[in-house]
């Protein structure tokens, strides 16, 4: 029993990372007022790009992850052009992006023969001598680089949003683009930057999934994590640290599934696999019960901005 708990907690962080990074990336974009439903697709792009770079350029995991970030950012330019410049309905554009990425990654993965090839990927980085401590050593100091970097990334993004001029401007665009426009800010520029920058993080989340966790690319491997990240952002009320808490929760659920089987508990396999999705629904219901009093949703979320609108 003791071992199972430790095993569970030790696996938790690396399963939480994709949720954490993806929702953080979404938060950046949504704080500028752009509703992004494309996370599921961008994660797939990052996952494929990571494996592709790993297999094509000599097997450097960090290079692969950077490639994943770049791929996520590049594909998101398409989305940004559609919703910021051409003012396409953000729900439709987000959905189209997901299905486009699903199809495209499936196609490219098969044609370029990157599918179903295991890689050694990203290795753990034990922090000697701390990693030698009993229990704690395994839980906190024996993880890979990205897990260690996650909290600094969160700190950096949080600082950026709340304690810099640029972050202030970004948030103002998400709250009241008319006020931001009247203050002389370039709405298009900030929204583009927020979407593309945020998507780089989403791509990284996907890349970590393939290069760090599963160490393989399989078509559709994100299995809805992107949608869960979208729900997480709402649950986190657009605050980075709450998103991290949510990510830990979902990482915990995902880490629990193999442990339950190991503990000898006999639950039908497929019902166990349903738990993350049902948990997400439960979280959303709970949000709904608590109501939206004091809602922190960026006021202008989801609405394209155009200056010369006359009623």
């Amino acid at each position: 029993m003791h071992d199972i708990v430790i095993s569970w907690l030790a696996n938790l962080p690396s399963l939480a990372v994709p949720y954490a990074l993806a929702s953080l990336g979404l938060i950046i974009g949504e704080r500028s007022g752009v509703l992004s439903l494309g996370a599921e697709g961008l994660m797939l792009v990052g996952a494929l790009a990571g494996v592709a770079a790993y297999l094509s350029f000599g097997g450097y995991p960090l290079l692969a992850l950077v490639a994943a970030m770049i791929a996520g950012a590049v594909v998101s330019v398409l989305f940004a052009v559609l919703v910021v410049l051409l003012r396409v309905n953000q729900v439709i554009a987000g959905l189209a992006l997901v299905f486009f990425c699903q199809g495209l990654t499936n196609l490219i993965g098969t044609v370029a023969n990157w599918s179903n090839r295991t890689i050694s990927g990203l290795h753990d980085l034990p922090l000697y001598p701390l990693s030698e401590l009993p229990v704690v050593g395994r839980l906190l100091f024996t993880h890979d680089l990205i897990v260690y970097l996650t909290i600094p990334i969160f700190i950096a993004v949080s600082y950026f949003l709340n304690r810099t001029n640029a972050g202030l401007r970004l948030r103002s665009i998400g709250e009241n683009p008319e006020a931001a426009d009247a203050a002389g800010l370039n709405i298009y520029l900030y929204r583009f930057a927020a979407v593309i920058g945020g998507s780089a993080l989403v791509g990284l989340a996907g890349g970590y999934l393939s290069v760090g966790s599963a160490k393989i690319w399989i078509a559709g491997m994100t299995s809805g994590r992107g949608w869960i990240a979208v729900a997480l952002v709402i649950f986190a009320r657009w605050h980075p640290w709450r998103a991290l808490a949510g990510a830990l929760l979902f990482g915990g659920i995902e880490a629990l599934i193999p442990q339950v089987a190991a503990a000898g508990v006999r639950v039908p396999q497929y019902f166990m696999l349903m738990t993350p999705y049902l948990a997400t629904l439960a979280v959303m219901v709970w949000q709904g019960i608590r109501g939206r009093i004091g809602s922190d949703e960026p006021t202008a979320l989801g609405q394209p901005y155009v200056r010369e609108e006359r009623t």
């Binding site: 304690r163 001029n165 202030l168 103002s172 006020a179 426009d181 009247a182 006359r310 009623t311």
Partner: protein, 505 residues
């Protein structure tokens, strides 16, 4: 010295609509220059051109004698033009300092915030009031928010200040204080443009006034040398007859509202305790500055939101008993004979993407008037709409099947009245029914309300325009901070009503 701002020959189209027709304006430093005109005359559009928000199709702009071209608000701000809009361009969740900092960066974030806070305090003190820079905008009153907008412009170094209908949202006392402050700012050397339709303010505070009508500039003159009637004629172009109050007899109580309360919506004063009743054959006007619970009251009356306490009871003609409708749905209220004329026409009065026929027919289709549940009868819908459009004089209808959104403000309102009043309602709730309409359309709407009243309806008129309320109401209730604090019978003393609006602050 060259004029501070000179706009010449400005023309602006919005699609087919000509908003500005070779308009011109010249304002000097050190003066308060009023821009006078009725709704739709083009005043706000012209100022939006000066502020860089609209780009003119033709014409020129000169600031301090130097020609300029603005491709955005930033350039206009850099030339020293600061505009305070009717709907404030403030981020509600940010503090005063953050809002001012947004357009006026001062180095790094932390240092900048401290510097800005100092500047805000200095400038506010120089004008004679206090502003605590760390307060959030959504915790400030409307008058305070307006002062933030002015400070924002001054911190940015504005030499030309444009105020768009600034007194529309203020009590009489707050308005006087604002206009006095504005005069001081002009005296210190700035050029101040006051966009307004209020003659009293123009005569009391402006050095010069330019009058606009139908997108054109009519003339510029010294308001001290013109009478109010002269100014009105220049604004409107001809005489318009307003309906007179009749001395019809008043019937029984139709609507009784008792201790009605409603929860907060985003910082607006909630409805705290509204108690009043309205009889058949009378117009009960609710006067008050916007933001004192009027919207919540209107919503509670028509069923748009549930009140948190209190009751609404009605007595239908011919029915011996009172019916309590506090929690009734809008559908049920309509069945009881209540008609609603909402303040926000485009959002709540019409479905702008649907046809005129649809927008009219939806008011009746539930009663089985246009076919059955299995099959609607478009032919009878069209005929009924045609008759209603004729009777209520809705203009601009090229085809009954055109989108309702193509109708102008006044005609859209007439269509809404056609739908609501054709049912001969026994109770009418009209919220700011003439907002944004020109004088002719206003008169038409008032005529309809009076006619409905004469036919026996009990009319609740909620309006932020004191002139409107005083003009057609038979009884007046004053609403402040969510309560009806005073009631007057017509004809009411304007000053007494105005005092009631502030005494309970």
């Amino acid at each position: 010295m060259a004029p501070a701002l000179e706009l010449s020959g400005i023309t602006k189209f919005f699609g087919d609509f000509l908003a500005l027709d070779a308009a011109h304006l010249s304002v000097d430093y050190g003066e308060v220059h009023a821009l006078l005109g009725e709704n739709g005359a083009g005043k706000s559009s012209l100022m939006n051109v000066a502020a860089g928000l609209y780009s003119p199709d033709s014409g020129s702009i000169k600031v301090a004698g130097a020609p300029c071209r603005f491709s955005g608000p930033r350039e206009s701000m850099q030339r020293g033009i600061g505009m305070i809009h009717q709907n404030f361009k403030l981020v509600k969740r940010f503090t005063i300092a953050e809002n001012v900092l947004l357009a006026n960066p001062r180095g790094s974030f932390r240092a900048g915030k401290a510097a800005i806070e100092r500047e805000i305090r200095e400038k506010a003190a120089a004008l004679g009031f206090n502003l605590e820079p760390a307060r959030r905008i959504d915790r400030l009153s409307i008058a305070e928010q307006q002062r933030v907008e002015i400070i924002k412009a001054l911190v940015a170094g504005a030499g030309i200040l444009i105020l768009d209908e600034p007194t529309a949202v203020l009590t009489e006392g707050e308005a006087q204080r604002l206009l006095a402050m504005v005069r001081d700012i002009a005296q210190a050397g700035a050029a101040v443009i006051l966009v307004t339709h209020k003659l009293r303010d123009v005569k009391a505070f402006a050095h010069r006034v330019t009058i606009m009508r139908g997108g054109k500039t009519v003339t510029t003159l010294d308001p001290a040398r013109a009478t109010a009637d002269d100014l009105t004629t220049l604004m409107v172009g001809s005489n318009v007859v307003t309906p007179s109050r009749s001395t019809k007899s008043v019937g029984e109580n139709r609507l009784t509202v008792t201790a009605l309360a409603s929860a907060t919506v985003e910082g607006l004063t909630p409805l705290v305790d509204a108690t009043f009743s309205v009889r058949s054959g009378e117009i009960y006007g609710i006067a008050g500055v916007g933001g004192n619970g009027q919207t919540e009251l209107a919503d509670a009356l028509v069923g748009g939101r549930q009140p948190s306490a209190g009751t609404i009871a009605i007595k239908e003609p011919g029915s011996p008993t009172l019916a309590e409708i506090t929690t009734a749905t809008p559908r049920q209220r309509r069945d009881h004979g209540i008609a609603s004329v909402p303040a926000d026409r485009q959002s709540f009065g019409l479905a702008t993407s649907l046809s005129i026929v649809d927008n009219f027919a939806v008011g009746f289709i539930h009663d089985g008037r246009f076919g059955t549940a299995a099959r609607i009868d478009r032919g009878s819908m069209r005929r009924a709409t045609e008759a209603a459009v004729r009777e209520f004089e809705v203009q601009g209808v090229r085809s009954l099947w055109q989108r309702a959104g193509l109708l102008s403000g006044g005609n859209a309102q007439k269509l809404i009245l056609a739908r609501e009043f054709s049912r001969v309602p026994s109770i009418i709730v009209a919220h700011s029914p003439t907002r944004g309409l020109d004088v002719r359309a206003c008169a038409a709407v008032h005529g309809r309300l009076v006619a409905a009243r004469d036919a026996g309806a009990a009319v609740v008129l909620i309006s932020e325009d004191l002139d409107e309320v005083l003009g057609i109401s038979d009884r007046i209730g004053v609403m402040t901070r969510g309560r009806i604090v005073a009631e007057f019978d017509a004809p009411a003393d304007r000053h007494a009503v105005g005092r009631a609006m502030v005494d309970h602050v």
